[in-house]
C-alpha cells in the first residue's frame, strides 16, 4: 500500500528521533493502561474500599509487583486505575482551556482594536497571578475535590491559549490569502473559521500535547496538597501525599505513583516536540 507522502514524511520524521519515539511509546502505554485498566488490573476490588490489613505495606513481590499500601491495597492496581483519572483530567482540562482560549485569541487577533484590547487585558490579569497559587485559592473557595480542582485549573489554563492563538492569528491576518478571501467577499466569521483557525492549529496542537502533561502534574500537585481528589480515590498525587508519611522505609508506596507522573509528563512533552517537528512547515521539505 502506498501511503500519502505527508503521512510517510510524518512517520519518517518521528522514527528519526529517539525522543519522539520514546514520547509515543510512553503515551501509548499510559493510554493503553487507562483504556484497559479495569480489565487488566490484578486486584479490581482494591480500587476503592476493600481493606486488607493483613497485607498492608508489603514490599514488591510476585503477587504485588509494586507492593501494597497502608491498607493492603495493591499499588499496581491503584496506579493503573489512577492513570485513567489523570489522563481524563489532564485531557479534559486542556480541551476545555483550549475551547475557551482559542476562539477568544483568534477573535482578538483577527478583529483587533478595542475587542482585542479587552480580551488581552483580561488575559493579562489571569496570567499575572502564578497559576498554581490561583488554583489553590480557587479550590479553597470552591472546596476541595477533583471536579473543583479541574475547574480551577481550566480557569488558570485558558489565558495561555489566548496568547498563542492571538499571536498566530495576528500573523495569519497579514497573509495575502486572507486579503484574497476579503476581496472575494468573505465575511469575518468565514475567514476566521475557514482560513485562520485551520492555519493556526499546528502550534496549538503542540501546546495542547505538552499541556496534557503539565495538567496531569498540576492535578497531582493539588491532590498532593489535599485539594484535589480525596483518598481513597486512586489519584497519583493523593497517593504520594499519603505515601510521604511512609518514606523512606516503605519507599515503593511513593516511588511508583511518582514514576507514573514522571512518565506521563515526559511522554506528553516528548510527543509535543515530535508533533512540532511534523507540523512545522519548514520540515516538510525534510
Amino acid at each position: 500500500m502506498i501511503l500519502p507522502r505527508r503521512l510517510r514524511l510524518a512517520i519518517f520524521l518521528l522514527t528519526r528521533s529517539f525522543a519522539s519515539m520514546l514520547g509515543i511509546v510512553l503515551v501509548t502505554v499510559i493510554l493503553g493502561l487507562a483504556l484497559l485498566g479495569p480489565v487488566i488490573v490484578p486486584y479490581p476490588d482494591h480500587v476503592a474500599g476493600g481493606i486488607d490489613l493483613a497485607n498492608k505495606l508489603q514490599s514488591p513481590s510476585a503477587a504485588h509487583w509494586f507492593g501494597t499500601d497502608e491498607v493492603g491495597h495493591d499499588i499496581l492496581t491503584r496506579v493503573i486505575i489512577g492513570a485513567r483519572l489523570s489522563l481524563l483530567v489532564g485531557i479534559g482540562i486542556t480541551l476545555a482551556a483550549a475551547a475557551i482560549g482559542v476562539p477568544l485569541g483568534i477573535l482578538a487577533g483577527l478583529v483587533g482594536g478595542p475587542v482585542r484590547e479587552a480580551i488581552m487585558r483580561l488575559t493579562d490579569l489571569f496570567l499575572s497571578v502564578p497559576g498554581l497559587v490561583l488554583a489553590i485559592a480557587l479550590v479553597a473557595a470552591l472546596g476541595p475535590g477533583i471536579v473543583n480542582a479541574m475547574i480551577a485549573l481550566i480557569l488558570v489554563w485558558w489565558p495561555g491559549y489566548v496568547r498563542l492563538a492571538d499571536s498566530k492569528a495576528l500573523s495569519i491576518r497579514a497573509e495575502p490569502y486572507i486579503e484574497a478571501a476579503r476581496v472575494a467577499g468573505a465575511p469575518t466569521f468565514r475567514i476566521l473559521w475557514r482560513h485562520v483557525l485551520p492555519n493556526s492549529l499546528s502550534p496549538l496542537i503542540v501546546k495542547m500535547s505538552m499541556d496534557v502533561g503539565q495538567a496531569i502534574l498540576a492535578v497531582a500537585s493539588l491532590g498532593f496538597l489535599g485539594l484535589g481528589a480525596k483518598p481513597p480515590t486512586p489519584e497519583w498525587g493523593a497517593m504520594i501525599s499519603i505515601a510521604r508519611g511512609y518514606l523512606p522505609e516503605w519507599w515503593w508506596y511513593a516511588v511508583y505513583p511518582g514514576a507514573f507522573i514522571y512518565a506521563a509528563v515526559l511522554g506528553f512533552n516528548l510527543l509535543g516536540d515530535g508533533l512540532r517537528d511534523i507540523l512545522d512547515p519548514r520540515s516538510h521539505r525534510g
Binding site: R5, R8, L9, F12, R285, G286
Partner: protein, 328 residues
C-alpha cells in the same frame, strides 16, 4: 590571461526525504583572472548553489558533492579543510548577497560590524590583529571607497537607519575588507529599486576596474548581467547550456533555452515585440528529464535529445553550447 577559477565536472546532490536531487549536474567552467562573468538562469537552475560552493556555504547534509573539482588558484576548494576554507573566505574570495538587510546584525552598529569584519580578516590572514581604533579608520576609508558620503556618521548608525542601497554598499565595503581577488555577487541588486540598482551596478563595475577584481555575478535578470559582465553563462536545471561573450549571446544565442530566455524579456525600447514565454515549467530535479534536461520544453527536441545528454562543446571560438541541434 590565466584561469583564476576552474570548475570541472562538478556534481552536487541534495539529499532529502523524497530522494536525491541532482542540483548541479556536471558543471564545467573557467573564470580568467580579472574578467567579469555573469551567470544567468531561472529559479532552480543551480546558480546560487554554484556560487555558494565556492565558499563552502552549502550545508552538508543535505548537500553532497558527487564528483568534480573546483580549483581556485590551483587548489581544489572541495577538498579544503574547514580552517583553510575560512582563511580563503573574504581574503581571496568575497561574497555579497541578495538581501542586504538580513546580512547585517540589527542590534550592532555599522562600526562594530565593520571592525569585526576587518579584525576577522586580520586573524584569518594569520598576522597581527589591528586594534579597534585602527580597524575603524580602515572601515572609514572602505566606506569612502564604495561611494558612501559622511562615513563617520554612517559608522555610528545602525542598519535600520540605512536605506537598502546604503546597506548593500556597506556589505560591499565589508567584502572588500580582506582585499579579495574574486568577488561573488549573488543577485546583489534584486532587492533594490531600479534607480538604486543602477547605482550599485555602477559601483561594482568601478570596483572591478579600479581594484582589478574578478567578478562572478549571479542574476535572474539578463539586463543586470549584460550591464556588468563581459561573458555570460546560461544555466538551466543544474547544467550549463551556453557560455558566450555577452554581445554575441544577446545578438545571436545558440541554445534554444538561451533563445527562449532572451525572447521572454520584454524590451522597453521595442514594445512592438511581444515577449514570448517558454511553454512548460522548470523540471523537478528529483526526477530530471533524461538526456537534455531542456528537451520537454524545447520545440526542436528529437528522440536523440531525450536519450543522450548533449555535451558542452566549443561551437565557435570562445563560445560553448550544450545542444545536439545548435549550429553556428
Amino acid at each position: 590571461m590565466t584561469a583564476l577559477l576552474e570548475i570541472e565536472e562538478y556534481r552536487l546532490a541534495f539529499d532529502s526525504f523524497d530522494g536525491s536531487a541532482a542540483v548541479l549536474d556536471g558543471i564545467d567552467l573557467t573564470i580568467e583572472a580579472g574578467s567579469t562573468l555573469g551567470i544567468v538562469g531561472e529559479s532552480g537552475c543551480g546558480k546560487s548553489v554554484l556560487a555558494r560552493s565556492l565558499l563552502g556555504l552549502n550545508p552538508s547534509p543535505p548537500a553532497r558533492v558527487a564528483s568534480g573539482q573546483i580549483r581556485f588558484e590551483g587548489r581544489d576548494l572541495l577538498t579544503l579543510r574547514p580552517a583553510a576554507m575560512r582563511a580563503l573566505r573574504g581574503r581571496r574570495i568575497a561574497m555579497i548577497f541578495q538581501d542586504p538587510a538580513s546580512y547585517l546584525n540589527p542590534v550592532l552598529s555599522i562600526a562594530t560590524q565593520m571592525e569585526d569584519a576587518i579584525r576577522g580578516q586580520d586573524a584569518a590572514a594569520g598576522g597581527a590583529v589591528r586594534a579597534r581604533r585602527a580597524a575603524r579608520a580602515h572601515a572609514h576609508s572602505l566606506l569612502g571607497s564604495v561611494g558612501l558620503p559622511d562615513p563617520a556618521r554612517l559608522l555610528a548608525s545602525y542598519p535600520h537607519q540605512l536605506s537598502g542601497g546604503m546597506r548593500q554598499r556597506v556589505l560591499i565595503a565589508m567584502a572588500l575588507a580582506g582585499d579579495p581577488t574574486l568577488l561573488v555577487a549573488d543577485e546583489p541588486t534584486t532587492a533594490l529599486d531600479v534607480t538604486v540598482q543602477a547605482q550599485v551596478l555602477a559601483l561594482i563595475a568601478e570596483l572591478v576596474r579600479d581594484r582589478g577584481l574578478t567578478l562572478m555575478l549571479i542574476s535572474h535578470d539578463l539586463g543586470v548581467i549584460a550591464a556588468a559582465c563581459a561573458r555570460i553563462v546560461v544555466m538551466y536545471a543544474g547544467t550549463v547550456v551556453e557560455d558566450a561573450p555577452t554581445r554575441a549571446l544577446l545578438e545571436h544565442p545558440l541554445h534554444p533555452y538561451a533563445q527562449g530566455l532572451i525572447a521572454a524579456v520584454p524590451d522597453l525600447d521595442r514594445p512592438e515585440i511581444t515577449p514570448r514565454g517558454i511553454p512548460g515549467s522548470i523540471p523537478s530535479l528529483l526526477s530530471p528529464p533524461s538526456g537534455c534536461r531542456f528537451h520537454p520544453r524545447c520545440d526542436r527536441a528529437t528522440a536523440r535529445c531525450a536519450a543522450e545528454k548533449p555535451l558542452l562543446r566549443e561551437l565557435l571560438p570562445g563560445r560553448r553550447v550544450a545542444c545536439h541541434h545548435a549550429t553556428p
